[in-house]
Amino acid sequence: MLALLLVATTTVSANAPTLKAGVFDPPRQAPDFTLQGSNGHALQISQYRGKVVLLAFGFTSCTEVCPVTLNTFAVTRRKLGAAAAEVQVVYITVDPQRDVPTRLAKYLHSFDPTFVGGTGTESQLSAVRRDYGISAERKVVGDDYTYAHSSFTYLIDRNGRIRALMPYGHSPDDYANDLTILLKE
């Protein structure tokens, strides 16, 4: 009887999801913003309609999460080959005090010259974080400070919709898989 109960808790099977990232259903439109771009121009998420966008938040002094994530993006773009031209990485700082556009540009170019950074006033960045559900907590470390921040990446499709969320730590292969699917749409 116990054996039957134990087996009865588990029957049939389900389909595996296609994307490696977490998928939103229904997807919502990515909230637009206007920030200072690291390329010297205004940065709006809407200007990348037609491309698939990887949107991440962090700061250039981050020693753990951001270098790994940005390197993953760079490797992913190389894996995609020519299709990488249709993928845009957008990296928004949570640390406007240190991350001025020139510093952002230098930092991002060390990973991939096509990456674009965004900065602005504290209130501008706070509004963007609120709209995207991003946490960023400033922590004092001795005479310095650091941030604990959301480490995931949003995948925004060609129509400007937030389709998926990739948690920190996924491989370039996982990103390439998902970007390939979104680029084919």
Binding site: L2, A3, L5, L6, V7, T9, T10, T11, V12, S13, A14, A16, P17, K20, A21, G22, V23, F24, D25, P26, R28, Y132, G133, S135, E137, A148, H149, S150, S151, F152, L165, P167, G169
Partner: protein, 140 residues
Amino acid sequence: MAARHAALWGLAAGSVVALLWVGLLPIETASHDEIFVIPKGTWARRMSGDKVEILPDHIRLTLGVRDVLVLRNHDDVPQIFGPTLMMPGQSFRLPFERAAEYQFACTAHASGQMTIVVDPNPATPWARLIWRARELWRSS
């Protein structure tokens, strides 16, 4: 006396066979989803001072069996749910493919973090037996 011994031996043997059967039978589940839902009215309840906890700060999943976290916001307002912001009526489906411990920033919890432990697939009979026993315990 002999009949009683024979019955006891029969019962013991039957139990062993049943446990072996439970352990050897592959696990196939109706769904891989572990679902958490923010019910309608949650925000209003929170605003009135009711402490509503929906998402535990520790979630246990099992690779290949129940390895997809599903979050659904049935409330009327956007909610930070787990690692993400979810609009009213929106759901979020996050699959896991590696057994590991995952940490997510989650402002909904006092610790500021949510931990998801993904256990390896119960590949051995003993592991399947334990998994089924745990499932039975969960559902009871």
